[in-house]
Symmetry: none
Subunit: 252 residues, 2 copies
DNA sequence: CCCGTTCTTGCACGTTTCTGCATGTATCGT
DNA sequence: ACGATACATGCAGAAACGTGCAAGAACGGG
């Protein structure tokens, strides 16, 4: 591995996970921690990261350049996105829902991951423009501006023509009794249509969604494979879900 | 192996695997590392790669990206976009092509214009998110990353289901004999399909496009209604077009 | 056909850069 | 305060680098 390449890798890691742990990276890349430390020192000298004890953090968002600016998702969403991105297998096909959390997943995908991404969200399509190895398929339809996704009959029909291994579903409410809910009926229908086209459906739920419910039911728990959240797994709501057979993937 | 051939090989390698390791290439091609280094040095001098210790990397896509993304539309494109936006009638339906000029049109549309916009460009869909009165319809399909538009069979099929008053067509070349041209065959086919669905087709051509031609023909002049450009209307190329019955809308 | 020129290529040499280890110091958590 | 961990520094071997040089090929003019 080239030294400069390693440097790029560090920067990408920083943008994707929001932090770097020197020890982990050294082990992952099979190089000494000294080299990682040296790289981090250099990057910090160029103002590209902030050196901290044990690793590095992104430079404060105010100073950060344009590239990272758009990837400023709240910490919780980024953690969820990072774990969810790990569910996407190389060569696999994933349906990415709309919403800010799903957008964070798009940003969290390794830049050179070879996979197929199906989405009905134009912002996600735009975010994936610089993933050269990702084959992106956009589901057309009427643009629902509130969520920045396409929906309606045309979109639902387009969804019937695709299949995927995985659907990463964003919702606005996750509640033991109310189930998975969202604020728009059409949007809910679209999510249902997408879930029906994927072998597995994982729900993206940053902590603020847990225990809340919105107006329209999306899916029953039985049709989901699991839930990715940064909320403490010992939270009563999550424990109740786990008892009901929902696989909870912690993103702490 | 010819020197120029070797150079091409290096560039292709760079594009394919995102990096070049001098030692590996030298062994693979059976030449000395010195020659590889010399080639890389030359390529770097031409700005075709970035030289690093041990090999080379592509010119940072980040630099290109941000440059293009950040740079507000050049003056010419903005003038063209402004005039073209004026062609959109309240309550009317317009098909907006992809490309930076069409994106400028989206930005130039009055924020509360009530109209229907059909597009196969995710960035344009995103740009129209804050036009509350605009009904936006996205044509889905495989995402062609170079132009940031959807194309392919699915997109062409989706195009068959819409109709519009107006198609604002972006091209890369406007030439009296070669006609309207663009750099990608699929993209050209998509533009043709869109032109067939609109009553009128107006070409968006900022001055640098006038008199140039690209690889693939899009449309004959007969199927266009007019041309919007900021180039001096007395330009010989434009006068020749006008003689052939093309309506030239000046955007000076 | 011959000769001089130019360009390319590989080799040799000295220099720079990188990397991992060892050492001693600073910092963190308990 | 203490041990554990992370850190900076110095060092040595290895790898990559630039440069100069010479052999060979391609080319053009006489």
């Amino acid at each position: 591995m080239l030294a400069a390449e390693r440097r790029d890798h560090l920067l990408e890691l920083l943008a994707r996970q929001g932090k770097i742990v020197a020890k982990e990276v050294a082990a992952e890349l099979g190089i000494s921690e000294d080299s990682v430390r040296r790289d981090l020192r250099d990057l910090a000298a160029e103002g590209l990261c902030q050196r901290v004890y044990g690793g590095a953090l992104p430079v404060s968002p105010a100073v950060v350049d344009y590239g990272a600016r758009q990837s400023v998702a709240p910490d919780g969403k980024r953690k969820v996105a990072s774990v969810a991105a790990g569910l996407v297998r190389p060569g696999g096909t994933v349906i990415l829902d709309g919403g800010t959390t799903a957008l964070a997943v798009a940003h969290a995908l390794p830049r050179d991951l070879a996979c197929t991404v199906i989405t009905h969200s134009p912002p996600i399509a735009v975010a994936l423009l610089d993933h050269p190895q990702a084959e992106v398929f956009v589901l057309g339809g009427r643009l629902f501006k509130h969520s920045a996704v396409t929906c309606g009959a045309a979109a639902a029909e387009a969804a019937q023509n695709v299949s995927a291994d995985l659907f990463l579903l964003g919702v606005t409410g996750v509640h033991p009794e109310a189930g998975l809910t969202t604020g728009d009926a059409e949007d809910a229908a679209m999510k249902r249509a997408l879930a029906a086209r994927a072998a597995d459906t994982y729900v993206l739920a940053s902590s603020e969604k847990i225990g809340t419910a919105s107006r329209f039911r999306v899916l029953p728990w039985a049709e989901t494979s699991g839930l990715v959240t940064d909320k403490d797994p010992h939270d009563p709501v999550l424990e109740q879900l786990a008892e009901n057979g929902v696989e909870v993937l912690p993103a702490g």
